[in-house]
């Protein structure tokens, strides 16, 4: 039996997923020169960051720079969140390979909506609808114990986590239905330990 307290993903200070999601890069255009920060732009030897320069910055850096009273940079929406692509996802989200678009499609996307870009609410709607459309497929996969890697690989990180949870719970339930859990299973640690021993003997 288990006692582990489980809850769904919710970002916090120590959440690696969130750190990685905000590590995604965005294209920025410098709106106000910054003294001494030329090092951020590797294409130039300039000491200062000058107006008009375009450069890629991780979101965690670009965001505060775009929110200052006099904007230091303006952030361009990544292609996959722009209108043309939003239409693709609205048409049929379930067939899209999200993992190719970014491992943190939803999390990064919802961070982007905080830029107060005019597309923010459209992005939000798109994220929600895409998540809902794909969720039903994902639940089916988990409930039917789908192990087709090529399908599962099309999921983004958030989806993959849900799928794995669902898959594990389903597998456990089916095992119970077919034989019952009255026999307690050895914990994974013990099993692995035995395997290791065995491996040594085999050599």
């Amino acid at each position: 039996m288990e006692t582990r307290f489980k809850h769904s993903y919710c970002p916090n200070y120590f959440s690696l997923e969130d750190i990685l999601a905000t590590q995604e890069r965005v294209l920025c255009k410098v709106e106000k020169s910054v003294h001494g920060l030329g090092c951020l732009d590797q294409s130039t030897e300039n000491e200062d960051l000058v107006v008009g320069t375009t450069l890629q910055l991780p979101f965690w850096l670009a965001f505060p720079l775009s929110q200052t009273r006099v904007r230091v940079v303006s952030v361009e929406l990544p292609k996959i969140y722009k209108e043309a692509f939003r239409e693709v996802l609205t048409a049929d989200a379930s067939i899209v390979d999200l993992s190719k678009l970014g491992r943190y499609f939803y999390e990064f996307g919802s961070h982007l909506t905080k830029l107060n870009h005019r597309d923010s609410s459209a992005i939000n709607t798109m994220l929600m609808n895409a998540f809902k459309d794909r969720l039903r497929v994902l639940i089916d996969w988990a409930q039917n114990l789908c192990t087709d890697i090529s399908k599962v690989q099309r999921l983004d990180t958030l989806e993959k986590e849900l799928y794995l949870e669902g898959f594990k719970a389903r597998k456990e339930l089916i095992a119970w239905l077919s034989e019952g859990s009255s026999k307690m299973c050895a914990s994974e640690m013990v099993v692995n330990h035995k395997k290791r021993k065995r491996a040594v003997v085999d050599i």
Binding site: N124, M128, K132, G166, A169
Partner: protein
Amino acid sequence: MNSAETEFIAEKELVSIVPNFNYEVIYLISGDIGPFRAGLPVKVPIWLAMSLKRRQKCRIVPPRWMNVEDLEEVKKQELNERFFTKMPSEHYMVEAHLLLSVAADDIPRCEQIRTILKDIWDIRMSKLRSSVDQIIKTNAIHARLDHLTLMEINSIRPLLPHALDQLFRLQNGRGPSQASGSQAFTQ
């Protein structure tokens, strides 16, 4: 919660046994049981019934609903109704599972019972699938789940509630940004 814990909870339900020994009342913390008179039925929790049965100290009297006729009726109703019907026991699946596993010899036509139970379970699972679809599609903030048994609720846990948590987060623009933690917004 996993199946083992659901089973643990269902094992508290009472079932009749016919002991082959005599003993006075036993004062358990969860309630008194007995007295035991050889040949006379007495109610005990399932966990105890199973243990006594394994040690051949009793025969188990199947619960009143655990017979082919009654279960066929339950199945017919479940097929006819659009919504979940009330099951004869809150833990019908677990009780049947446990009792059939140790006391198949005490329960007439147990193979048939197994088959009908599996049918009922499948019908209910397919209803549950469409309910889940509906909940997601309509973005329900509340759903009534009357007559779903604990094991059935468990079959959509943690996937359904966790997925809805994420949907709620996306919907309310409460992406990571407003959560207190996110490092990206602490500068």
